[in-house]
Amino acid sequence: VYGDLVTFGASFLGSAVESVEALTIVLAVGLTRGWRAPLYGTVAALAVLAVLVLTLGGLITSTVPEGTLKLVIGSLILLFGLRWLHRAILRSGGAIAMNDEAAKFNARVQELRVAGRRAGLDWIGFVIAFKGVFLEGLEVAFIVFAVGASSRSLPLAAAGGLVAMAVVASAGVLVHRPLARVPENTLKFAVGLILASLGTFWATEGMGIRWPGDFLSIFVLAALFLITSRVAVAIIRGAPGPAPALREDAG
C-alpha cells in the first residue's frame, strides 16, 4: 500500500508541476489567438507522448531484467530528482529567482499578439501549443514511465499523471488565467525529495542491496534528503546577499 501511494503521489505531484507550465503556454495561445488551434496542438502532443510512454514503456519493461531496470531507471530518477531538489534549494535560499508563471504568460501573450494570422487553421497557435505541451510533457512522460517501470505499476503511475493533468486543466478552464498562485517551488521541492529517495532506493536495489523494512526505507531516505536540504537552505540564507523571496516558503 505504501509503495502504491508513493508511486501515485510521485507521479501526480511531478506531473502537476509540469502541467502548470504547459497550461500557461496553451492559455496564452488560446486567449490571444482563439482556442481551436492550441487545443488541436495539445491533443496531438498528448497523443505522441502517450504513444512514446506505452511503446517504450512496454518494450523496456518486458525485455530488460528487473535488476538492470531498477539500477538504470533508479539512477536516472536519482539524477532527475537531485536536479529538481538542487534548484528548489537554491530558490528557497534566495540564490535564484522564483518561477513566475504570470510573467511568462504576459511575455508569451506579447509575442503572440505581434505574430500575424492567416485564414483557416492557425498554424502558429498549433505549433506553439504542440511544442510547449510536448516539451513540458516529456518530463511528465519520464516521471510516469520511470516511477511506473521501477515499481512495476505503470498503470498506477499513468493514473497519477492523468489525474494531475485533469486537475490542472480543470483549474485552468475555471480561472482562465495562468496558475500563478500554485506554490510551484514547494511542489518541486517535494517531488525532488520523493524522486531522489525513490531513485536511491531503486538504484541500490538494482545493485543487489536489500534494505531493512523494504519499501519503508524510502521514508528514511526522504528524511535524510529533507534534513540535508533544510540545512543547505539555512546556510544559503545566512550567506551575504539580498533577502530571499518570501512568495513561497518551500523547504
Binding site: 539524477l79 516539451l135 541500490t204 542491496i209 550567506a239 551575504p240
Partner: protein, 79 residues
C-alpha cells in the same frame, strides 16, 4: 530540425544541467555498485545514500553562497 534539437536538449537536461555534479553522482553510484558486489550488507545502501546527501548539500551550498554574493552590489560585498 530546431524542434528535434530542442526535444533532445530537453531530454538531456531532464537529468543533467551541471555535468560535474552529474559526474559526482555517477561516481558515487559506481563506487557503491562495486562495494555492493563485495559486501552484501544493507549498511552499504546507507553509506551510498549518505554520500549522495553530502554531495548534494556541499554542491548546493557552494553554488548558493556564490550566487547570493553575486546578487549583492559590489560595494556591499567588499565591505
Amino acid at each position: 530540425m530546431t524542434f528535434l534539437r530542442s526535444a533532445v536538449s530537453r531530454v538531456v537536461k531532464l537529468f543533467v544541467t551541471d555535468w560535474s555534479q552529474a559526474l559526482g553522482i555517477v561516481v558515487i553510484l559506481l563506487v557503491g555498485f562495486l562495494a555492493a558486489r563485495r559486501v552484501s550488507d544493507p549498511a552499504v545502501g546507507f553509506v551510498i545514500a549518505g554520500a549522495l546527501g553530502l554531495h548534494l548539500g556541499l554542491r548546493v551550498v557552494v553554488e548558493g553562497r556564490r550566487r547570493r554574493r553575486s546578487l549583492l552590489p559590489e560595494s556591499l560585498y567588499k565591505t
